[in-house]
């Protein structure tokens, strides 16, 4: 059983995101999902300020593989599992009854329900397709862990994924502190405005490492 710091988490930096949707498209393509199916990874656009001083904040989001996994807590059949080995939350569609209770419990709106009424969501690309990934080899046991497609296809390095102890080293102090105070669900950099879009001051310094 891996310690919590070995559990995989997502990192998102809105300052590096250009809102191109490459992440959500690559996710859909890799998992062979129809164009009109609900997205496992979404990109939304949010405005800050008033004309003419307007900045746009794109937000890319998917299942955050929460440490406390509220979806798994309410699942009657334990089809949803928070894996001890790498912390990735998977769903076994053979055990899912399609009650949609997890859809309500998730604070990020991650569960989607296809034509068969069963739940599917991001599995950090443990395997391809809805319901895949349950029982797959732990990312921490792979020699060269495969990065999720949203991460590898992101043009601005806005999305990262990896064990918490490594990801947190790349986060700013503010993002690391928010991660610790927000149930340890996702590492998100604060938006710094247009002036910082190209250069983000990361806190990968010795004093902040491992925060």
């Amino acid at each position: 059983m891996a310690v919590e710091e070995d559990h995989w988490v997502f990192y998102f930096d809105p300052n590096r995101c250009i809102g191109c949707h490459a992440c959500s498209i690559s996710c859909k393509q890799f998992h062979g999902r129809d164009a009109d199916a609900d997205d496992w990874r979404t990109v939304t656009h949010h405005e800050k300020g008033e004309y003419p001083e307007v900045a746009e904040v794109p937000v890319s989001m998917s299942c955050m593989h929460c440490h406390d996994a509220p979806c798994a807590e309410v699942c009657p059949t334990e089809a949803i599992e928070k894996r001890d080995s790498d912390g990735i939350v998977t769903v076994d569609q053979d055990a899912c009854i399609g009650c949609k209770y997890c859809g309500w419990a998730c604070p990020f709106g991650a569960p989607t329900y296809g034509d068969n009424g069963l739940m599917s969501k991001c599995n950090m690309c443990l395997d391809q397709g809805p319901g895949s990934g349950a029982g797959a080899e732990s990312k921490n046991e792979q020699d060269d862990p495969i990065q999720p497609n949203c991460v590898s296809d992101c043009v601005g390095d806005a999305i990262k994924a990896g064990p918490q102890r490594e990801i947190i080293k790349e986060a700013s102090q503010a993002a690391a502190e928010r991660f610790q105070s927000n149930d340890g669900r996702v590492v998100v950099e604060p938006f710094r405005g247009e002036e910082n879009l190209d250069m983000v001051e990361h806190a990968a310094t010795p004093e902040h490492a491992g925060d």
């Binding site: 807590e73 009650c99 569960p111 604060p190």
Partner: protein, 380 residues
């Protein structure tokens, strides 16, 4: 996954449950309430039958035949409606699932006993067994064969089937159920104990429908402090209304049984209204933006259903109607004339029907107006 951007908040999708689940929540509550009503009516009838000192204190009179008949009818209506409600509610619940047949293997598949869905499933199963036994014992058996009343419609329907079937009517379905009822009917004290267990299961059944919702911490409307209390009150109220609507149809509208249950129902509705008011007040005073949006949804988007359906038609008007009919019945001679009796009977029937309508709309609004706490966009 469809999410809404465009502002400082990232709003999440939330319409996962709709009419069928609202119907299930309503029928689950009504089933529990109807069973409680049935058990209470059975207790009153048994107190009259035994002519005990407790009966004299609680009922004032133990020789009122109309009261005795109404108690029997209410007990039977309550039990049979509790079974019908949970059966229809169960079908509504299953029809909503992505894999309904898989859910039927719940004894093996439902392994997470920390989930209210698992707890609720077992409560439903145990409740259904107790309610079905109660219905069997109240509707069948040699002692019931000579009784009359509209609540005995299951006997009449099965008797009709017996007369149409190729088998002998002397050894038909009614005979079989009468025999099973006589052979399984427990002694009086044991029956009372079973009713107590059934009553506890009924209250758990009603409360669980709210616990299921209020276990979701990201929906302010499904507040753990208020919702179970509201559903419990509403479930008992709709259960009383369902059972007593049957009693009214059986001709028991102007009996002391109906009068007492009706006043009890009124008191419950008033407390329920206060609890709904406290929930709305909580939403208005909450710092959670989703709570404020929910309040707007209750009075704007779903204003017709909530204000018009729940607060006016489903709770306020029934109490006003009940008080009016009761005043006319108790303090005037309206009930002495045939048209007056029809008027009062119609008034009671309308009241109970409105309570049932309000009970369904309450669940509908609680589901449809639910808003998840949005995510704060970084930097905004």
């Amino acid at each position: 996954m469809s999410v809404t951007g465009g502002s400082e908040w990232l709003w999440l999708p939330h319409v996962h449950w709709a009419e069928f689940i609202a119907l299930y929540l309503f029928l689950g509550g009504t089933a529990g309430g109807a069973y409680v009503t049935s058990s209470w009516a059975s207790l009153m009838k048994s107190l009259m039958d035994t002519d005990s000192w407790l009966g004299k204190i609680l009922l004032a009179r133990t020789d009122d035949e109309e009261h005795r008949y109404s108690c029997a009818e209410t007990a039977r209506w309550g039990s049979v409606l509790s079974v019908l409600s949970i059966a229809v509610g169960g079908v509504a619940l299953l029809s909503h699932l992505g894999a309904p047949l898989r859910a039927l293997t719940f004894p093996v598949l439902f392994t997470n006993f920390g989930s209210w869905l698992t707890i609720g499933t077992w409560v439903i199963v145990l409740f259904t067994i107790v309610a079905a036994l109660e219905t069997l014992w109240l509707h069948f058996g040699s002692a019931v064969a000579t009784e009359s009343g509209l609540s005995l419609f299951p006997r009449k329907i099965l008797g009709r089937i017996d007369s149409l079937g190729p088998w002998s009517t002397d050894r038909g379905i009614v005979w079989l159920l009468d025999t099973v009822a006589d052979k399984t009917r427990p002694p009086s004290r044991a029956h009372g104990a079973i009713r107590l267990v059934g009553g506890a299961l009924s209250l758990l059944l009603i409360a669980y429908t709210a616990m299921l919702l209020s276990d979701i911490s990201v929906v302010p409307l499904w507040n753990r402090t208020y919702l179970p209390f509201i559903f419990l009150l509403s479930g008992v109220s709709t259960g009383i209304s369902a059972a007593l609507l049957g009693t009214v149809a059986s001709g028991g509208a102007l009996t002391r049984t109906n009068h007492r249950f009706c006043l009890t129902d009124d008191a419950i509705i008033v407390v329920e209204l206060v609890a709904i008011g406290l929930l709305v007040s909580f939403l208005g005073n909450s710092s959670d933006v989703a709570a404020n949006v929910t309040e707007t949804a209750l009075f704007d988007t779903y204003g017709l259903e909530f204000v018009g359906g729940v607060l006016i038609l489903g709770t306020g008007l029934p109490v006003a109607l009940s008080i009016t009919v009761t005043m006319l019945h108790q303090f005037t001679d309206v009930g002495e004339t045939p048209w007056g009796r029809r008027l009062l009977t119609g008034g009671y029937a309308l009241k109970y029907t409105l309570v049932l309508l309000g009970g369904f709309l309450l669940r509908y609004v609680i589901l449809m107006a639910a808003v998840k706490t949005p995510l704060g966009v970084p930097g905004l």
